[in-house]
């Protein structure tokens, strides 16, 4: 049948169009270069930056409902009035064209289709319930970035269902570090760098992975004349602040630490009294360290015997104001077969220096305790964790339960142990080694729900993708920061939601909880926030105004005991012996030996990027482009041998992957290492990060460190050759 008329679905609802509109009435011109500080009629709203996970205090200026400027909040203990470059880039995220605008469901053809929130809640709730009924609550897991709002609404949701499977993104950051520290010191202290006389950084670069307060502390230390050592196969961006660079062979930091311990003990430069009084089985440790001479370590590390001795002596002679900084991912966060041992040794060298919880040492400070309303229902008994972390007899008994072996998902799925997962503010498919294995693993789940602001590699394999409001569009949970002076901080909604159908994470989880009959465990964010403040005796309204409130210091200097099995510093840990390792840390070779002619692919942060999301921000992507930041660093001599010149296109390959990039030929890197930054190589379909380089995770196989289960992210060897040669 011929249809003679087009049925119109006119979007615009107009009553009557009359008269002429003043055409350019609302276009306000500027006669001059913008002066963003003189913006009139603007509102200033306190916020916590989301450029990276440090959440620096900032002030957002809003005019006519739009973000017009961001500034550091001088009251905040992390930003102290400054902001790094990422903050400016992240400011317009709310307006990004890649934003998810409504809930998506994957249909039978593997394509996403938009659905309503009601349908999403109903279907997700029903599916999750069926899975739990059939396979038990421990077949469900939650993957997050551990901030308080995630804990209040995500962790609690999981626990309300009876599961203990909470995993943070840290498996791809510092699972080994935390595992090592937990067993020797009972937790991860923070280095009082500003007041230390000597600081040894291992892989950690304050100038590359920026948290403003830390970098400022380092500058203060420098101004005060303290001595700074940087141990890194690469001369990183913090190098000018250092007195000496120790260009260590990648993967051998443990040897350096063992030798430092050896020298401290042999030359009696350690805090004997502290070790004997507060150390568990110190004699065993003392005995074992004898074998690790500087000569032995020099051979392993490519550092000279003199340098090793000098570092040890500098530390020992300046104790207790001498520290080995704890790092983030750095060299031993999750990178090598010996990373957990390295972390144990970092903890123990600090203990040898008697610096635990003293000024200029390694501090254990606590944040304010933030409580929920009393009338909320508490979760009952939880099923054991699927990764066996913290469970005697299990493979990853030693692994830190606050983080979990999240990189093992593909195996849990294969073994039929994990059926459903929620994932928020985290992109495990891209951020753990081996994309194909990760993708297949997450695809194998019966139910995968991803909550995010735009698509990620993980969202692409999800069954449901739920759109979250972006950071400037949401108020979050009151959160605390530790330190000598603890603070309470808040992210306050600065602008109206751009996309009306997006929701805050807290809303999403409590509404889903309602659907599943779990309402009693939750209350709304405002009630949570007011309660937390009330119980602390501070004013929520003041917090809304200022974004941050300083509390009285509760920090007491001096060793306060350790949260370990023995309650002491564990120079020898029974747990390690129980798990089949040695009680006293010992030398462990890196898993991969680099064959002649190949390189170890190492990675690290760049100061304008965070994780793998920020390359989709035009301002930041532009800097990468302008300064060729997505290049691979190769030692000059090695490059010469390979006929590679600075700026040449090169191919990096191994049995897993082949990819192209450009070479940065430099003297500033150990010959065995090839450094490539960890932010690039997105495979998600996003607007501003096409052609954006390689991902280190494409070159590293899915593997585990024996002790913590961490993914051994730098245990891989690659070949590099000139493209077209």
């Amino acid at each position: 049948m011929l249809k003679s008329k087009m049925t119109r679905r006119t979007f615009l609802k107009a009553s009557a169009i009359t008269g002429v509109v003043a055409a350019s009435a609302s276009y306000v011109g500027r006669g001059n270069i913008s002066d963003a500080s003189s913006i009139q009629d603007a509102e200033k709203i306190p916020n916590l930056c989301n450029g990276c996970s440090s959440r620096c205090g900032m002030t957002v200026t809003v005019s006519d409902g739009r973000v017009v400027r961001v500034d550091g909040n001088p009251l905040h203990s992390r930003s102290r009035g400054t902001l790094c470059g990422r903050a400016h880039g992240a400011a317009l995220l709310a307006y990004h064209p890649d934003r998810l605008t409504e809930p998506l469901k994957k249909n039978e053809n593997g394509e996403f289709e938009p659905i309503s929130w009601e349908q999403a809640y109903k279907e997700i709730g029903e599916k999750l319930q069926t899975i739990i009924n059939e396979h038990g609550p421990d077949s469900f897991a939650y993957f997050q970035n551990p901030k308080r709002v995630q804990r209040l609404y995500g962790d609690r949701f999981v626990e309300a269902l009876g599961s203990a499977n909470i995993f943070s993104h840290n498996a791809s950051c510092n699972l080994s570090r935390d595992t090592g520290f937990k067993h020797v010191l009972g937790g991860v202290p923070s280095g009082d760098v500003a007041n230390a006389k000597v600081t040894l950084f291992i892989g950690r670069s304050y100038g590359d992975g920026i948290r403003p307060s830390q970098l400022q502390n380092l500058v203060t230390a420098k101004d005060n004349g303290s001595k700074i050592y940087i141990v890194d196969p690469r001369l990183n961006s913090t190098s000018n602040l250092a007195d000496e660079w120790l260009p260590i062979k990648p993967g051998t930091d443990l040897a350096l630490l063992l030798a430092i311990a050896n020298v401290l003990i042999e030359e009696n430069l350690y805090d004997k009294e502290f070790c004997e009084e507060h150390g568990n089985r110190f004699e065993d440790f003392e005995r074992e360290m004898k074998q690790y001479t500087p000569e032995w370590a020099s051979d392993k590390t490519d550092l000279s015997v003199d340098v090793i001795k000098q570092v040890a002596r500098d530390l020992g002679e300046n104790r207790p104001k001498a520290i080995v900084e704890q790092s983030w991912k750095g060299a031993f966060g999750c990178n090598y077969e010996n990373s957990t041992e390295t972390a144990r040794m970092v903890g123990l060298v600090n203990a040898l220096l008697g610096n635990i919880n003293v000024d200029g040492g390694m501090l254990f400070t606590s944040g304010p305790s933030l409580e929920s309303p009393d009338n909320l229902k508490e979760p009952g008994e939880l099923k054991p964790r699927v990764d066996g972390a913290g469970i005697k007899g299990e493979k990853w008994y030693l692994a830190d339960t606050a983080k979990g072996v999240g990189n093992a998902v593909p195996d849990f799925v294969k073994e039929g142990k994990l059926k459903a997962a929620f994932c928020q503010h985290h992109n495990p498919v891209r951020n753990h080694p081996d994309y194909e294995v990760m993708k297949e693993g997450y695809e194998g789940l019966d139910l995968l729900v991803v909550v995010d602001i735009w698509m990620s590699e993980t969202a692409e394999v999800a069954d449901y993708v739920l759109p979250e409001s972006s950071w400037l569009e949401r108020t979050e949970a009151v959160e605390g920061l530790g330190g000598k002076t603890p603070t309470v901080n808040l992210r306050v909604q600065a602008i109206d939601k751009i996309h009306p159908k997006t929701k805050n994470f807290s809303e999403i989880m409590s509404e889903l909880a309602d659907e599943m009959g779990l309402s009693d465990y939750f209350t709304d964010l405002e009630t949570e926030n007011r309660t937390a403040c009330e119980k602390l005796g501070i004013s929520y309204d003041e917090l809304l105004e200022q974004g941050t409130i300083q509390l009285e210091s509760t920090w007491e200097p001096g060793y306060q005991g350790s949260n370990t099995e023995s309650g002491k510093v564990e120079f020898a840990c029974q747990a390690f012996e129980d798990a089949g390792f040695t009680a006293v840390p010992k030398w462990v070779e890196p898993k991969v030996t680099i064959p002649e002619g190949e390189f170890r692919l190492i990675h690290g942060k760049q100061n304008i990027h965070s994780h793998t999301y920020s390359t989709n921000i035009p301002k930041l992507a532009q800097i990468s482009k302008e300064y060729n930041l997505d290049s691979v660093w190769i030692n000059k001599k090695r490059a010469d041998e390979l006929g590679i010149k600075d700026g040449d296109p090169v191919i990096i390959e191994n049995e897993m992957h082949t990819g192209k990039t450009t070479a940065k030929v430099t003297e500033a890197i150990h010959p065995e290492a090839a450094f490539y930054p960890s932010h690039y190589g997105s495979r998600a379909s996003l607007t501003y990060n096409d052609d954006n380089g390689l991902s280190i995770n494409d070159y590293t196989p899915h593997q585990y460190e024996a002790m913590s289960g961490a993914p051994n992210m730098m245990e891989t060897s690659v070949q590099i050759k000139k493209d077209g040669a």
């Binding site: 087009m6 009553s15 307006y95 394509e111 009306p500």
Partner: protein, 202 residues
Amino acid sequence: MTQTTTMQNKSEIYSILAEGLKTPTEDWVSWYNDIGREKLKSLLISFPILDEQEVSNCLPKQLDFKEVDHLYRSYFILPGPQRVVPAESIYKQWTVRNSAFALSKGFLMGDSAEHMNNIFKELDIEIPEEFSFMPDHLILQLELLSLLEENGNEEFVNEFIKEHLDWTEDLVAECTKKQWSGFYYLWIQLIHMFFHKECWKC
């Protein structure tokens, strides 16, 4: 042709162009196949500036609903490597006002969006909720043009097109970059051709 018929023609053209950018329905596809294509073609070639062959090339003969529907999803709806958001703000500098982000580019809700909102408000026009974050979406702009032409607002229309439809070239470039092909790619080119060749001035 009298002044009014041209205006009616233009109104009709804008309306059809807008309709073609909406979620396709079987009705619309069969209308296009049976009548729409020829109708639009004849409306367009009534502008002497437009070349019949060029116009014809942009109008595929037979559309298949399933195919068009599929293309529509991957080009406009689903997050993926080919999605394009045809909203003016994204293709222009964000704001000309005093702002730290004055000359940033690539974001929604820029000045052009704000201006569209003001126009809608002044004209007492309501827009659907799902467009509240992109009042400067191409569909809305075309619909507005259609309404304005219908109501004889020629002067404003010209002003409006000059200010608000100078980004279709960049839109075509974006679609090319994202390897579009088929009906929507041609449709976008047709829209661009119409504005670029300044047909509205006729």
